[in-house]
Subunit: 329 residues, 2 copies
DNA sequence: GGTCTCGATTGAAACGTTTTAGAAGCTTCT
DNA sequence: AGAAGCTTCTAAAACGTTTCAATCGAGACC
C-alpha cells in the first residue's frame, strides 16, 4: 500500500509541496537544479499523481468520453481507434460508452460521464434531440458530434455526407441497369438512415423505392430482411443496404436461398468495412474516412478543451467514395 | 455554470451535507421521509455527484480499466461489449486502452489508469512479464487477466484453452487428409500464438510443422503470409492461421493467385468472428466464448472490488469448439 | 422520574492536489 | 545605501465529498 503522495516527494526532495506541483504542471517556473532533484525523488518513490485530487482542485479532468451507437460495428471500432490514438498522444484517457442504439442507455451513460467530470464528450447521438447535450454543455463539458452534422454554429461536428453517399450508391445501381431497387435500412429515426434514403430518392428522381426497415443494423437483421424479401416472392433487381453489416447478412440470406449475386440481384453496402472485400461475393460499398473521422473529432475536442480562447467551432463534412466490387458487376 | 453541490442540496432540503451523502451512499440509514425530501431536492437542483471528490475522499473510484491488444479485432470488440454490459449494469465506467501489441504503449496506458485511480484493471497482457501488474497491485488496484491464464493462485483470470484449440484445429486438418501443414502466426512472444502452436504440435505427434511468423495479426499480414508461401513455390496441403483476421487475409491472398480453397489448400482460422461465416469461402474456425469471456472477467473483477472479504480468486478456463465450414470441406 | 437504548441526524475533520499571495534572496539601478 | 524588480520558493486556503464521533429525541424499562 504505497501512499507516496506529493507531500512525501516534497519532504524527500527538501522542498515544499507547492514546488513539486510546479514541477509537475509548470516545469519552466522552477529552477533546473531543484527540478532535477524533485524529478529524482518522484522516480525514487514511484510517485503517481492522484488524478481525482488533481481534478477536484483544478476543476477539470484529463479524461474524455466517447459514446458510440454500436461498438460491435467495425465502423465505430475504427472511429474509436482514431480517437484513442489522439487522446493517448495528448495524455488524455478515454471512457468508452456504448449506447447500443437505446436512448435511455445513452442518457445513463452520459450521466456517468458527467459524474466523472470528463473534460469533453465525443458522441454519435442515437437521435436528434439536443437536450441531453445541452445539459452537458451547461456543466462546462465540451461536446463534439461524431458522424452527425451539427445543427448549430456554436458547436463542432465531424460527419460524412450521407445524402451524397446514398445518391452515389443508387446512381451506381441504376447505371448497372437496375430499375426495381430496395433500400434495407435500420430504424428511420436514425439520421444516417434517413439521409441515405434521401440521397437514394434524389438519384431516383421520383421513381419508387421499396423500403425495408429493420430494428437493428446487424448481419442477423440483414439476413431477416433477405427472408422477408424472398417471402414476398417478387425480388428487386438490386438492394442498397444502409450499412455493410446489413449487406453481409443480406448476402448470406440470398445465397442461402440460391439467389445469385450480382446476376439475379445486385447488392451494395455502406461503410466499406475491412470485411466487405473478403466476403463470399466481395461487396461494393460506400467508403467513409472512418479512422480519420475519429482522429479529427478528437483533435477538435481537445483543441476546444486546451485552447478555449482561440478555438473556432467547425462543422467538418467529409465526402464518401464509391468502391466497386463483385456484388454489382 | 451550475454548481449544484451536495451543500446546496442539503440547504435546499433543510438537512446537513452528511445526510445527503447518506441518502446517496447508504439510503437505508436515513428515514424514509427525509430521504424523499432529499431526493426531491436532488432532482430539482439537477445535482450530479462530483466523482473526483467522492473518489478522493472515499479512497477508491467507480471506474475500471480495460487494456486490450487490438481494438480493431472483433474478438476484442466482443470481449469489450461483455465488459461494458456488466460494468454499466453495476454503475461502473470503463476506461478503454489499446496497447496495439506494444509493451511500451501498454505501460503508458497502465500509468494513466493508475493516475485515474481505477478500482481495477482487466487486461490481456501483451507478454508474460508480471512486474507492471504487480506494481498496480501494490497500489491496491485489482487485476484480472483476460484471455490469459494466471500463473499464480492469488489472482483471477479468464481464458480459453489454446492448446486444446490448436490441437483440435490441426487434428481436423489431419483428418481431412492434410500432411504438409503450415502454421501462420503472429509474434511468437504472444502466449496465444505459442499455445496454439503447442497444441498443433501435440496433434502432429512429432511430424513437422512449417511456421510462418508475422509481426501482426491482421488481414494485411495474412495476405503477406500468403504471398510468402506462394513465392516459396511449394504450397502446403493446409494452413492453420492463429486468428481469423490472418485467415481472411490468407484466403484473399490465395484466391488472388488462383489457388482454390479448400481443393488446393485447406484453411482453418481461430476465434470464429462473425465475419468468418460470411467470407468468400466460409471459414472453418475455432470458436471461443468471447462475449462471455468479457462478462465473466468483469464479474470476477467487480466481485473482487465490492466484496474483498469473501472474494475467492478463480482461474477460469473455457473450452474452445470446432466450427466446420467450406474452407476445409 | 430517572436511566438506558436505539435510531436519526449533525459537525467537523479529513482526502491529495492546485493555486494564490507573499516572503526571501539576488541583482540592478539611482 | 536604499529602492525596485526579478526569480524562486513557501505557507495556507481552497476544491466537494465521505466518514466518524458526538448529539439529540423518543420510547422502553425499572
Amino acid at each position: 500500500m504505497s501512499a507516496a503522495g506529493i507531500r512525501q516527494v516534497a519532504e524527500h526532495a527538501g522542498v515544499s509541496p507547492g514546488t513539486v506541483s510546479n514541477v509537475l504542471n509548470r516545469p519552466e517556473k522552477v529552477s533546473p537544479s531543484t527540478r532535477a532533484r524533485v524529478e529524482a525523488s518522484i522516480r525514487e518513490l514511484g510517485f503517481v499523481r492522484h488524478g481525482s485530487a488533481s481534478t477536484l482542485r483544478a476543476g477539470h479532468s484529463t479524461t474524455i468520453g466517447l459514446s458510440v451507437i454500436d461498438i460491435g460495428n467495425p465502423f465505430f471500432t475504427d472511429v474509436t481507434a482514431g480517437v484513442e490514438d489522439v487522446a493517448s498522444d495528448r495524455g488524455y484517457a478515454v471512457i468508452l460508452s456504448n449506447s447500443a442504439g437505446s436512448r435511455s442507455k445513452e442518457e445513463r451513460n452520459l450521466l456517468v460521464l458527467a459524474e466523472q467530470r470528463v473534460r469533453g464528450v465525443l458522441i454519435t447521438p442515437s437521435d436528434d434531440s439536443p437536450e441531453p447535450l445541452d445539459r452537458l454543455r451547461e456543466r462546462g463539458i465540451h461536446v463534439v458530434l461524431v458522424d452527425h452534422p451539427a445543427h448549430r454554429p456554436d458547436q463542432c461536428s465531424v460527419a460524412v455526407n450521407d445524402v451524397v453517399g446514398g445518391q452515389t450508391a443508387v446512381a451506381h445501381l441504376l447505371s448497372g441497369g437496375a430499375r426495381d431497387i430496395a433500400y434495407v435500412t435500420g430504424p428511420l429515426t436514425m439520421r444516417q438512415c434517413l439521409d441515405r434514403r434521401a440521397g437514394a430518392g434524389r438519384a431516383l428522381r421520383g421513381r419508387p423505392l421499396r423500403v425495408v426497415e429493420m430494428p437493428a443494423m446487424t448481419p442477423r437483421a440483414g439476413q431477416q430482411a433477405a427472408e422477408k424479401l424472398l417471402s414476398e416472392g417478387d425480388l428487386p433487381d438490386a438492394v442498397f443496404c444502409a450499412n455493410d453489416l446489413l449487406a453481409l447478412g443480406m448476402l448470406r440470406g440470398l445465397m442461402h436461398a440460391g439467389v445469385r449475386v450480382p446476376d439475379d440481384v445486385a447488392l451494395i453496402g455502406y461503410d466499406d468495412i475491412d470485411f466487405a472485400a473478403a466476403s463470399a461475393v466481395s461487396l461494393t460499398s460506400i467508403r467513409q474516412p472512418t479512422y480519420q473521422l475519429g482522429r479529427t473529432a478528437a483533435e477538435l475536442l481537445l483543441d476546444e478543451c486546451d485552447n478555449p480562447g482561440t478555438h473556432a467551432h467547425q462543422q467538418i463534412m467529409f465526402q464518401p467514395e464509391l468502391v466497386v466490387r463483385e456484388s454489382t458487376r
